[in-house]
């Protein structure tokens, strides 16, 4: 009896977690002009409106570009740092870890403000996309780092030693031994950086240049004045894109994401 009650309680919490996401997806198929419940029939008209809306389409392209650039840069820098932390840092290991996780522990809004001032102070401003990409790299670094560290720690150093005793040079050992073994962590970290960059709002909002609105920014602006189900269609497409990336991570690569 008690365990029944307990399970029921947990199920309610799971429903609570899914409710807003479910509602958004359901609302996107609404045929009416406004977000009303129950929906006035099923229709894909808001998806058509969305796909014909040049503003949103440009925002999606910007988001994808920023996310791709961020993922590439973050992955290279974060992977190198992870290799250093696990293999070479010695007693400094904990210090390196704390430093690498710092962007995660600091409030995103504060980091965004700090970067905004900094870019103005150095005369770079926010005219280009560069500032936004730098901001995204800073906040996604911890995720790449954690994922690669996790796979490095399950990597047996004896393999490296064996290759060395067989005469393999540093580069060959990295290319042929280490990289293939930590590849899941590296790819997982890269995809994770991509998702975070694609979804993040505050840092993009403060660092966006003229005409470089990402999808979350465009959606936020739209929601402040509009109530049509178009926003729901935009959201659903964005959710679908994220799910696609996650499915790639979990099914195709067979990885577990290390978010913490």
């Amino acid at each position: 009896m008690l365990s029944r009650l307990f399970t029921g309680y947990c199920l309610i919490v799971y429903a609570f977690l899914l409710a807003p996401i479910f509602v958004v997806v359901a609302a996107s198929f609404n045929a009416g002009n406004f977000l009303t419940f129950p929906p006035q029939g099923l229709s894909l008209r808001w998806y058509v409106v969305f796909f014909e809306n040049e503003v949103f389409m440009r925002a999606i392209r910007t988001s994808l570009w920023v996310a791709a650039l961020t993922a590439c840069i973050s992955t290279v820098i974060g992977t190198a740092a992870a290799i250093y932390a696990v293999r070479h840092a010695g007693r400094m290991k904990d210090t390196v870890r704390v430093a690498m996780l710092a962007p995660l522990l600091l409030p995103e809004v504060l980091t965004a403000i700090a970067l905004l001032f900094f870019f103005y102070a150095v005369g770079m401003g926010t005219r280009t996309m560069a500032g936004m990409v730098i901001g995204h790299v800073v906040i996604t670094l911890p995720f790449v780092f954690m994922n690669v560290v996790a796979s490095l720690e399950s990597f047996d150093p004896a393999l490296d030693l064996a290759a060395r005793s067989l005469g393999a040079g540093r580069y060959a050992r990295f290319r042929r031994i280490m990289l293939p073994l930590i590849k899941p962590g590296v790819i997982g970290g890269a995809l994770f950086a991509f998702i975070i960059s694609f979804d993040t709002f505050t840092i993009s909002f403060l660092l966006k240049g003229i005409g470089t609105s990402t999808l979350p920014i465009q959606l936020f602006d739209y929601l402040r004045t509009n109530f049509t189900p178009e926003a729901a269609a935009v959201s659903s497409v964005s959710i679908a894109m994220t799910i696609a990336v996650v499915v790639v991570i979990e099914k195709v690569l067979g990885l577990r994401i290390h978010r913490f």
Binding site: F6, T7, C10, V13, Y14, F16, L17, P20, I21, F22, V23, V24, A27, T36, F37, V76, I77, A80, A81, I83, Y84, V98, A99, M100, L101, P103, P107, V109, L110, T111, I113, A114, L115, F117, F118, Y120, A121, I134, G135, V138, L141, F198, D199, T200, F201, T202, F205, L206, L215, P216, L219, F220, L223, A232, S235, I239, T242, I257, R259, F260
Partner: protein
Amino acid sequence: MATGKRRSATLLLIAPAALVLLVFLVIPYVNIVIMSFRPPGEGAPYGVGFTLANYRKFFSDSFYMLQVLNTLWIGFVVTLSCLLIGFPVAWQLARGESRLRPLYYSIVLAPLLVGIVIRSYGWTVLLGNNGVINRTLMGWGVTDGPLPLMYNGLGICIALTHVLLPFMVLPIMSAIQGIDPSLEAAARSLGASRAVAFRRVLLPLARPGIQTGSILVFVLAISAYVTPALIGGLRVKTMAVTVVDALIDTFQWPFGSALALVLSVVGATCVIVFARLTRMRWKVA
């Protein structure tokens, strides 16, 4: 000689990350502190010289003080509700025997993978005057008019609890997973009731997870921008919303920095007091 060369080669691995964090994190944060002492500028975001005027403006206006208190109160309520809602779920994920556990786990992770703007938007659809909840209640005849669920502190707390729940569940879950189940069994076999075994064995051992989760949720709640901005509208503003408005809409950079720093210091003080009270041992994951 050879080892020295090797060492400098490995330092190249950490150099890019160190450079990024130094230039784009440490220096900008120091810069905020400097900015908060700048005078407001004419036609520019800030002027030259230094002044205490920004802090004086904050401490002399009870409007901002009340807003800080209100923000902390929201942070407190959200943390507490995340803990109460999240603990049983964390336990179920760590110890449950259901075959559906992987599914439950992905349900807890799912909100993290959906953008914050979308999740907050979902809550406006649910909580609005014409939203799902009010429509349903009115349809059933439970209430005559719409309940005020949005544009107030309640709506912000509900939505933030949802947004931040995974940050509470995941650390507690991993803490419980690290506890040997036989300890509870031992307590039970020694005659402890379920309640006593929970209070005297499970809860103390799960404490590090509870502490980590609470601090994460509290810090994220008081610094959240999107959710309060969308759910609170123009009527209820938290500190983070006021700070961003001061920077983006009115270009009061020095004053905005001072506000942000006051909130950070107050938030950090709360975290330290909490850690002291619960005798937290700082450990790096």
